[in-house]
């Protein structure tokens, strides 16, 4: 018996695979002079893959394949679209960076698209094995991408650190998954859900869940498993860092969303007490340590690395909230937590990619990531300065930028959960929002109120290539529009109606 294929539902993935095959073939057939075409083919392929996503969303049916291990519903579509747009923006950001450096060009886009394919599958995965294969399809190309500056020691260190810790976390996670399979008798999340619903959180299941969560904590660089992130982010080529901190991290969060809400959140909230304390600790520690470390950084990429650890902590808060509420029998919170994570991911993706795009643009002239090199940016490039201000203000969560709405839904979920632990977490999150404000506003202060530092470049206007300008434009537009009209993302909440 052959499996039934829904070609329409698989179309986005098939288009990405076809594109990456073409990019690889072009890489070894084109002469060195015309290799820049690979970037265009990759960009066009990603945009073409968005077309079936739009038609599928218009069609509106939930599609399930391969015995329910691969599902295309509105939630999967929204995240597939997010991953593809993030990949497209990363390609835009990379084009000039890759052309001007001493890089392997075709391979860069090939690896980027491979990771994008893994993310697209991840959004649809409803099975432990599919989930794991998708996560590795994301990870393996990004290990290589992190070490892409072949003749640079820091980049090699970045790649090796990321690889070793990534492999270790995969092993721990697989061990947890094997225990889950042994208990539930199936790798399907729907079967695990049934097992958790009837048996609750037995000690062995708690250990299994803990081990698999540790694996995911590495992937999303949650404290105390975040050590690789700052070094990897600093050493890797900056467009890759942007991709790691946005798309790759989002891949880990989507895996976490799938496994927690489709597998471990049992009927009537049974089994939630097995995982909420773990995620509570991850969330609180990530926010606090990430923000406190970011305060002390002098390099903007390292600062953004710690800030992304902290933002990951904010994204873990709704998970803990859903667990706390579920354990008390308040299941409505699961829906609002689920949509809070999704909304936070989408907004974080836009503003963080934008911030990295500005960092890349500024480094084109200053050739450094030093925070002092941002002093007097208003005098030299007012447009970039305004854009960076938008992204920093949004990351800090200042009202009427998108980041504010993301924080709002996050706080709403944890306050809906109620109870001592949720309140404590809300207070920790609130204090951290204030701490974060300091280092984000420090950049803003540097740019607007300081005189330009003569030692960083010639002080002339920074010429921003069109592709990079386009990426900055799109991300800043999303950041501003969603901040003023959060209703455009409010519908995302409806995607989560089938949860629990």
């Amino acid at each position: 018996m052959n499996p039934v294929f829904d070609w329409h539902a698989l179309a986005p993935d098939i288009i990405i695979v076809a594109t990456l095959a073409i990019v690889l073939a072009l890489d070894f057939t084109l002469p060195e002079r015309t290799k820049f075409h690979t970037s265009r083919v990759a960009a066009v392929g990603v945009l073409v893959a968005l077309v079936p996503i739009v038609t599928l969303a218009h069609n509106g049916h939930n599609r399930s394949m391969f015995g329910g291990t691969y599902v295309v519903d509105n939630y999967a579509l929204a995240l597939k679209a997010f991953f593809l747009i993030a990949t497209y923006l990363t390609i835009l950001v990379s084009i000039d960076y890759i052309e001007e450096g001493d890089y392997y060009r075709g391979e860069f886009y090939f690896l980027l698209l491979t990771a994008a394919f893994g993310m697209s599958v991840m959004a649809s995965a409803r099975d432990l094995i599919t989930l794991f294969v998708a996560l590795e399809t994301i990870s393996l190309p990004t290990y290589i991408l992190a070490a892409f500056r072949k003749h640079d020691r820091a980049s090699n260190e970045a790649g090796i650190k990321y690889y070793l810790i990534g492999v270790l976390s995969s092993a721990v996670m697989l061990y947890g998954m094997s225990l889950i399979f042994g208990l539930a008798g199936s790798t399907k999340l729907s079967e695990i859900y049934k097992h958790v619903s009837t048996h609750g959180a037995k000690p062995l299941l708690t250990i299994a869940i803990f081990l698999s969560l540790v694996g995911f904590a590495f992937k999303v660089s949650a404290v105390p498993f975040h050590f690789w992130a700052p070094d990897t982010y600093e050493g890797a080529p900056t467009p890759v860092t942007a991709y790691l901190s946005v798309a790759s991290k989002a891949g880990g969060f989507v895996a976490l969303l799938n496994i927690i809400f489709f597998g471990f959140y049992g009927l009537n909230g049974s089994g939630t007490e097995a995982w909420w304390p773990v995620l509570w600790v991850f969330a609180a520690a990530s926010m606090t340590l990430g923000n406190l470390s970011a305060l002390r950084q002098t390099n903007i990429v390292r600062m953004l690395a710690y800030s992304s650890v902290a933002q990951g902590g904010f994204m873990l808060v709704p998970f803990a909230a859903a667990g706390i509420a579920g354990a008390k029998g308040n299941f409505g919170v699961a829906n609002s937590s689920f949509s809070a994570v999704v909304i936070y991911l989408l907004i974080y993706g836009a503003m963080n990619l934008g911030a990295f795009a500005v960092v890349i643009a500024v480094a084109r002239r200053t050739r450094t990531g030093d925070i002092t090199s941002y002093s007097g940016l208003f005098d030299t490039s007012p447009a970039l300065c305004v854009m960076m201000t938008v992204f920093m203000a949004s990351l800090a969560g200042i009202p009427f930028f998108a980041g504010w709405f993301a924080k709002f839904v996050m706080f709403r979920s944890v306050i809906e959960a109620g109870g001592t632990w949720a309140t404590v977490l809300a207070v920790i999150a609130a204090v951290n929002s204030v701490i974060a404000f300091f280092y984000y506003s420090n950049i803003i202060r540097m740019m607007w109120f300081r005189a330009p530092a003569p030692e960083h470049g010639d002080g002339g206007v920074i010429r921003v290539p069109p592709a990079l300008a386009g990426a900055i434009g799109v991300t800043s537009a999303i950041t501003v529009v969603v901040g003023i009209y959060p209703q455009v993302f409010a519908r995302v909440g409806e995607l989560a109606t089938h949860v629990s």
Partner: protein
């Protein structure tokens, strides 16, 4: 129709199930799962006995003429390398390629067993799979990694 079945049909006694190895009790002591491991244990013992028997018989029959060269490790006819010696790093590309085609074989064998029932669908799937692998090989070839120098 198999021969034995024909015999049974003609004159054999009615089929009686073989006696169970274990006394039936309400709660089975040894589950089916562990009984399968019993087969593994039997195989291990049989394998050990087989090796011992073959080496032992050889020892009894063969003439014994010791020479120093005969005690060298056999490495495909070339002089053996020291255990922790340095190997040329260029071998690693062959190791990688070997893994690729090894994995390919691992996927093709089970497919070949069920090839008929999978039909054209299975054939197309396998061809796509091989085409993807060939793309990788073409990449390696065009990048000049197959040249030794």
């Amino acid at each position: 129709m198999p021969l034995r079945a024909v015999c049974c049909l003609e004159k054999g006694p009615a089929y009686t199930p073989p006696k169970p190895l274990y006394k039936a009790c309400s709660e089975p002591r040894v589950t089916e799962f562990y009984r399968q491991y019993l087969a593994v244990a039997v195989f291990v013992v049989a394998a050990l006995l087989m090796v011992a028997a073959m080496l032992g018989v050889g020892r009894l029959l063969r003439p014994t003429l010791p020479q120093e060269d005969k005690y060298l490790t056999y490495e495909s006819g070339s002089d053996p390398l020291p255990l922790f010696g340095q190997a040329n790093v260029r071998y690693y590309i062959y190791a990688l390629l070997f893994v690729v085609f090894d994995v390919e074989a691992v996927f093709i064998f089970p497919w070949a067993v069920g090839a008929e029932s999978l039909g054209w669908y299975g054939l197309t799937e396998m061809l796509v799979f091989i085409a993807v692998l060939l793309l990788g090989l073409a990449y390696v070839w065009r990048k000049g990694l197959l040249k030794w120098a």
